[in-house]
Symmetry: C2
Subunit: 119 residues, 2 copies
DNA sequence: GGTTGACCTACACTAAGTGTAGCATAGTAA
DNA sequence: TTACTATGCTACACTTAGTGTAGGTCAACC
């Protein structure tokens, strides 16, 4: 069993973020020690890692919550979940293209500066 | 002279965003018509376009404000401004790399789903 | 005279947390 | 024993970059 601090360290979330996810319903309310401190099992650590993975791809907390519900609902929701991941992948690809075009804008700005333009 | 609605249309900001930028000090308070409506000159439209350009690269409103102050301070601040744009460029490059690695994570997730894993 | 449409201000709300205040508890050091 | 430090708890305020809403003004059209 891990304290919230240990869990945070292991997973790479802040303590506050973990409490926030619990409040938002992404996590079942954690078991508590006699001192009322949250305790996390290995399986709950895995859930957190899983949340971290989804979160890092830019999926919103609300969407992760939906996704978590689907996972709990069992394999029947698998096709739906695959679709969500595919959509998320497309969103990432779009983001990358957008950022690349913004890079071009900045390059142009720099060129204008180098050419003596002054704003 | 343009109304705020026309300005918003021309630049591609929402009306609310323009008022927000004024409140934040990115824009000088706009001139007003007899009816107290904001009026924008072509030069102010150009400022807005300029803000839009910086904003799209992911620069924060606060940083754009600093940048705007430097522009107003004149050519002496040019080297500093070039540095800011270069840093912003690097941030974009880093963002792109991060997103690419997140793509790999999603790919792996999908592969695991295709291989019959169920969460 | 009534009703759009565009504008105004001020305030509330959003996401995804972070930061702070005020408290309890446990372990360690003098 | 007392003091200090670390870690945890709750609850609330704050952040960013706006968006949305309520309530009001004004000119133009039918």
């Amino acid at each position: 069993m891990y304290t919230i601090g240990q869990a945070a360290q292991k997973v790479g979330f802040s303590i506050g973020a973990i409490r926030f996810y619990e409040r938002k319903g992404l996590l079942e309310p954690a078991a508590r020690s006699e001192q009322n401190n949250r305790l996390y099992t290995d399986s709950e650590i895995n859930w957190l890692v899983f949340i971290k993975c989804l979160r890092e791809t830019g999926m919103s907390v609300e969407d992760i919550k939906q996704f978590a519900n689907m996972v709990m609902a069992g394999t029947a929701t698998l096709p739906e979940r695959i679709k969500i991941i595919q959509d998320q992948k497309q969103k990432l690809l779009d983001d990358i293209e957008e950022k690349k075009s913004q890079l071009v804008h900045l390059e142009r700005k720099l060129q204008r500066y180098y050419n003596g333009e002054n704003y």
